[in-house]
Symmetry: C2
Subunit: 234 residues, 2 copies
């Protein structure tokens, strides 16, 4: 196997870290969790997503989206790519296993969360027939994770929070809130997804994660208001 | 930086490699290119995608899609995750740079190809208004790569074929064919995308890649027939 990293470059590691984000974005929380798990000090720069700053447009010209991590003057974009960058730059509390096969499995579930997790956001916006279709897709996503993603271990890859947990944490914790806001509440049922329910409890109770979760009641209020604003402007 | 790999495990590396695929799938070619660039011998198992084999359903129960790499009895799914697995398992001719920041840039463009490259396939299926919309999305994708992805170097990350080149090779080489089949031919124009045109020439001429590209005329015939079959059954 490959030993592809150069020796520690302490000067680079010590450069200042800034995070461009907005709360309670689930994608921004992925980066916050990774930084906190690694105990990396950083400055949070609040972005107004309705009025994107020149800084955001400069550093993420392709997608113009948060989060962006600035390490010194170098921007990294896309939440899970930022998380992997953080994992490679700061070795403490590794977020990926050592074994290439286990790494591939973790990356498979990260990609699954990236590709299928967006159904939670379509759920937030959907109505009528579209809501029915999106509910079905969300159930399929959860079923796949329940059956194939989670084993007997506490987390996706083992006994501590790793990359796939970070990816799904931002899907499932937000789903619980979105379900309440949309008022359906029949998607993420405990008897249908016992492993996923056990897992999200473990995740929410994990050291570092539990101190860095947005408050649930605040989120419900936040997303209810947003949904009302959407309905008013539709 | 992290030195996260264990010493060479020769026994694992020597296990037999099989690739479940169908031709000319661009996703299967990504894996073929990676295996050939690493000079890994493998057995190709042809899948009939209209009649999925028990082997495919067993090894990729989540997506039920090709390609699947079997290393010994371990399945790896999703083309770019397979490519990264190959890169970590066999160190020769590395497909990612050493530097974590350059690795993040390569991964950014891999993800961009994964997320936006599918417009080529929607182009193949689209008609009327949908074709117009998809043409616009394809142009936007190419424009982003032209402006932000490619620099003065021969390939995405430097002077040899890497992971982002493999990801985009399967988008752009197939786009050239699909354009001809759809009969529009106004998307990938040389004067609009000079860097991308130079890059795809470099890619097609690169050692190993040039001996492992599906024949263009054969592809045109193949996809024309498929499109006719689609029209007949629509």
């Amino acid at each position: 196997m490959k030993n592809h990293h150069k020796p520690l470059r302490v000067s680079v590691m010590a450069e200042r870290v800034k995070l461009l984000g907005a709360l309670p974005s689930p994608f921004v929380y992925r980066v916050i969790w990774a930084l906190k798990l690694k105990a990396i000090p950083y400055e949070f720069i609040e972005e107004d997503i309705t009025n994107k700053s020149p800084l955001l447009l400069k550093y993420n010209p392709v997608h113009k989206k948060i989060p962006v991590l600035l390490h010194g003057d170098k921007p990294v974009c896309e939440s899970m790519i930022i998380v992997e960058y953080i994992d490679e730059m700061w070795p403490q509390n590794p977020l990926l296993p050592n074994d290439p096969y286990e790494r591939a499995l973790a990356r498979f579930w990260v990609k699954f969360a990236e590709d299928k997790g967006s159904s939670v956001w379509r759920l937030f916006r959907a109505k009528g027939e579209e809501l029915e279709k999106t509910t079905k897709e969300t159930l399929e996503m959860l079923q796949n994770v329940e059956e194939h993603g989670l084993g007997e271990k506490k987390f996706f890859g083992g006994d501590s929070v790793g990359m796939a947990d970070i990816a799904f944490g931002s899907v499932v914790y937000w789903l619980e809130v979105i379900e309440e806001v949309v008022g359906e509440g029949v998607i993420f049922e405990a008897h249908k997804f016992p492993r996923l329910h056990a897992w999200i409890q473990n995740f929410k109770q994990a050291p570092v994660i539990k101190e860095n979760l947005p408050d649930r009641d605040w989120m419900v209020t936040f997303f209810k208001r947003r949904r009302e604003a959407m309905a008013a402007s539709a």
